[in-house]
Symmetry: C2
Subunit: 201 residues, 2 copies
């Protein structure tokens, strides 16, 4: 087939496809604050949430980030966003359970963090609330979904919430508008590569 | 079981777990520039790449972003990152094929974008190169993997590259160090919610 014939067919096919896409878009008319969940054991859950923070800041809106596990170490995302005037960054943990080895301190950190997160979930000026790695203190029983789900449901109607972490609880998935499950197809760590600056932290 | 007994067992269990984790970490000693692929049809591929840009900038390093499909519209991530002195942002497309409906223009944009991306892939000062939605011009046959894969393989050894987009080609997956497949479990769009500012763009 000649290039010009390919081009002509492409134009016809994409024109028809646009009608299908436009019809779908025409049906999606609702604006609302979304509850998004990034779960699964692959790389990309927290980094995706931080990408949404960048988008939010790009529109001059405010974001609040509550980091429920990492915390002891200054990570790149915190160095970058914490300095931004439209970001509230709260450290709500001191590390993985096997690093802290202190159940009571982990519980206290998670609960103190959740109290702060509730403030953001009640503030209509906050466009995006990131509850980073919230699934872990929930799954460990340190925080109760009976507290969390009503606070999320009662938030300002245009506020977006992103929850990240492995093994998101069924109640979180059910309440969510958008859920992505990130599958670990391949990971450099298993080939002997340690966590890399700018990529993993 | 009493709280103090729970705490004691937790400490013992996490201490043992730390030995396992530390042994794994001790085996991962390599530092190298990674090729990361974020594929699958769920939400979070590009936003994850932008989160890694934030991490990179948090360490005072440089990032270069080549956006192969989106482009006509000013999106939040571009508004945010394009203004940053350590970011090179290149628009390498004018929209989805069904929006442009112009095969020759799409091919020309993709090829011009790839020529610019090759410059970044040869520059050791660039810590992270994002080839956002590169999978589409590859799968459409507009760009050749015979050009792309050697340029990626020959890049500076500590430079990281992130490729995003659905249906990543087998050659890209094979060459990658880390691959995440993002599954669309649930998406607000199918419930009639249109793309939301700060979340989807």
């Amino acid at each position: 087939m000649s290039e010009s014939e390919l081009d002509r067919r492409h134009k016809e096919r994409t024109r028809k496809h646009k009608e299908v896409v436009d019809a779908k878009i025409a049906k999606a008319t609702i604006d609302k604050g979304l509850l998004l969940v990034l779960t699964g054991n692959g790389k990309g859950k927290s980094s995706s949430a931080f990408g949404m923070v960048a988008r939010t800041l790009g529109y001059g809106r405010k974001a609040a980030i509550f980091q429920f596990i990492k915390g002891a170490k200054l990570v790149g995302e915190r160095a970058f966003f914490d300095a931004h005037p439209d970001v509230r960054w709260e450290k709500c943990g001191e590390g993985f359970t096997w690093d802290t080895q202190d159940r009571q301190a982990d519980i206290a950190n998670a609960r103190a963090g959740w109290e702060k997160a509730k403030e953001a979930l009640a503030d209509p000026d906050v466009h995006l609330v990131v509850l980073d790695e919230l699934t872990y203190p929930v799954n460990y029983g340190y925080l109760s979904l009976d507290d969390i789900m009503p606070a999320i449901a009662a938030r300002p109607p245009m506020q977006h919430v992103v929850i990240t972490g492995r093994a998101a609880h069924e109640r979180i998935v059910e309440a969510a508008d958008t859920v992505s499950a990130i599958r670990d197809v391949k990971h450099a760590f298993r080939s002997g590569v340690r966590a890399q600056e700018g990529i993993d932290w």
